[in-house]
Amino acid sequence: MYALGVDVGSVSTNIVLLDNSGNVVEKLYIRTKGRPMEAVRSGLAVLKDKYDDRQIQSVGVTGSGRMITSIQIGADIVKNEITAHAVAAIQADPEVKTVIEIGGQDSKIIIIRDGVVTDFAMNTVCAAGTGSFLDRQAERLEIPIEEFGDHALKAAVPVRIAGRCAVFAESDMIHKQQLGYATCDIIGGLCEALVRNYLSNVAKGKELLPKVLFQGGVAANKGIHRAFENELQLPVHVPPHYDVMGAIGAAILAREKLEREKKKTMFKGFSVSDAEFKSRSFICGGCPNRCEVVCVLENQKAIGYFGDRCGKYNNRSFSPPAAYV
């Protein structure tokens, strides 16, 4: 029996399958490209040939696209990414006290004491230092994102870059390039600037104690990793499945929930990868709230709504709050 976990993020959609002892047996990393349902569909299509519907014991979804995905595939639990990441981190290392998570569009810090989340924070004003910003800079410098970190490690004298804001960081980088600084030094400087920005914005006022876990897509970047270690003066660990921790957390939570409630999964089966999914949105004119309602269509048939505050549409065919518990 397997637990399926899906993390639909802004940049990537990650799907994992956990076996009974919690090991990751399948791990898919798909670019979301702004079409969450398509990404999930193509991911399930890969798994479809290898696994049978009956082998799936539970399904958990997380990430910013969690609502729409839960309607699409039939999820047992819909969880926010902060809780999912925390759960996966605690499973990966029970001694963890601090989790640094940097994904495609947001960065988070989670403080854990005795295996319980005690505090967390998420970036509010600026996306500098997150995956999509680094992606963009790598593209601009014509360096594959995979090698970005190695370049940073080669920096002899990292240049000081203004990292407060994504736009200013970029113009400062261009400025330093024009002055003739080596690319490696600029990349090294950028990594340091982003880490400084993270620590003074997201992690402000938090007590960062070891053991520190660094996860999320950006954890692949060795430059950022080293900059964190230098700045914190602590060893920073990157767990083996750092890039799919959200999905792992969702899978664990779903399995726990179904075992606790002794229920069967609501998974619709791998056949959803053959169905055509569409969504359409409209503004409800029923009251001055003017909610933007999203309707999910499976083969032209409406299977769920969300976005309405009064529950007028929500209650029609299914109720997401059931999975929220």
Binding site: K79, I82, V117, D119, R309
Partner: protein, 365 residues
């Protein structure tokens, strides 16, 4: 004279009852929505706080529907709210609207004579006798008190109700019914009925829902649109919430301030961490956090608009309260750029934190 008012939570219901009872001509602008916000943001200074923008949106909507006078309260106070009326008068004038502003500033700032002069401006419009005018004011005050009470009961019972969603539905139908009633005495009667109905909602008090204090800047905690309907969201999730700052509280606070007897409990509680008045409702926020810990609530959520000076101070004090009094606190900043997804994620994660924390504490003892 056709009067309009800016929105603040359910105040419009009490104001409607007041104006109906006085026999005044008035326009209640449509409830705050994205339209009001985009209209307000377009004509307001970019860096001003969110309430200002929404209020400007309300004025424009009100004036467009025929109002020629705006009635609002001021503070002349040390936070930006003190400058609201002056700036807003200017903006409306620049937009070419011929509109009169009647600003009810506190007595301490403008004196009793001036305040009465301003109130008289409205009062003279009413053809009623002085005695029935006083009766109208009491009727409206009573209505405000009832609405606040109904809302507080709904928020508290949401965690216990046997049929989830009942309290929320009752609350929304109450507002609708009262708003569509143009007989002020009957409207208060309806409120009384709802007060009794909401207390008899079937509830299971053996449940142990999460209890959260909602605190922070007064406008953003009271006006549901500005905080993305956080109290509704929490009701949906079966959380009991307590909010001390209400329009009734504000009114009492304003009146008692003149004799320095306002909100003793909150201010006393805040003394340990913030013994000075720094403007806005920062001291109240600190006091609420301390009281929430004392009352063994599970956590507290602080909400304030981007750039709110007093609340930034309290935000930086809250972590030490959280540590000393063992009360988890989540701070949420709202402005016209606030994304709903990230906002919800934070609230959900906070509730998870509180739940897991509670399980942990319970298993240890």
């Amino acid at each position: 004279m056709r009067i309009t008012i800016p929105h603040l939570g359910n105040v419009y219901l009490a104001v409607k009852i007041l104006f109906d009872s006085l026999g005044l001509d008035y326009v209640i602008p449509p409830l705050n929505s994205r339209e009001a916000l985009s209209l307000g943001s377009k004509y307001s200074p970019e860096e001003i706080c969110l309430p200002f923008k929404l209020m400007v949106g309300n004025y424009i909507a009100g004036v467009e529907s025929g109002a020629d006078t705006v009635l609002l309260v001021g503070s002349c106070g040390p936070c930006r709210f003190g400058e609201y009326p002056e700036l807003q008068i200017r903006i409306m004038k620049q937009l070419g609207y011929d509109v009169d502003f009647i600003v009810l500033d506190p007595v301490q700032s403008i004196g009793l004579n001036e305040l009465f002069k301003r109130i008289r401006k409205v009062g003279l419009e009413s053809g009623k006798s002085a005695l029935s005018k006083i009766g109208s004011v009491f009727l409206a005050y009573n209505a405000m008190r009832l609405i606040d009470e109904i809302e507080a009961s709904a928020h508290a019972i949401a965690g216990y109700e046997t049929n989830p969603g009942e309290a929320k539905n009752l609350l929304s139908s109450c507002k609708k019914e009262v708003f569509s009633c143009s007989d002020p005495v009957k409207a208060v009667k309806i409120l009384n009925q709802y007060r009794n109905r909401i207390k008899t909602i079937p509830a299971d008090y053996s449940k142990k829902p999460l209890k959260i204090a909602v605190m922070g800047e007064i406008y953003t905690v009271i006006e549901p649109f500005s905080n993305l309907y956080i109290e509704d969201i929490l009701m949906d999730m079966g959380v009991s919430t307590v909010r001390r700052l209400t329009p009734t509280w504000w009114l009492k606070d304003m009146l008692l301030k003149t004799i320095n007897l306002n909100s003793r409990e909150l201010l006393k509680a805040s003394n340990e961490f913030l013994p000075l008045y720094i403007g806005g409702h920062a001291r109240e926020c600190i006091g609420e956090a301390v009281l929430a810990a004392k009352e063994q609530m599970d956590g507290a959520i602080q909400i304030f608009p981007m750039g709110c000076m007093p609340e930034i101070v309290s935000k930086s004090i809250l972590p030490s309260i959280a540590q000393k009094k063992k009360l988890p606190v989540l701070s949420l900043v709202v402005d016209e750029m606030t994304g709903e997804a990230g906002y919800l994620t934070r609230i959900e994660a906070f509730l998870d934190l509180l739940e897991r924390r509670r399980e942990h504490v319970c298993t240890r003892c």
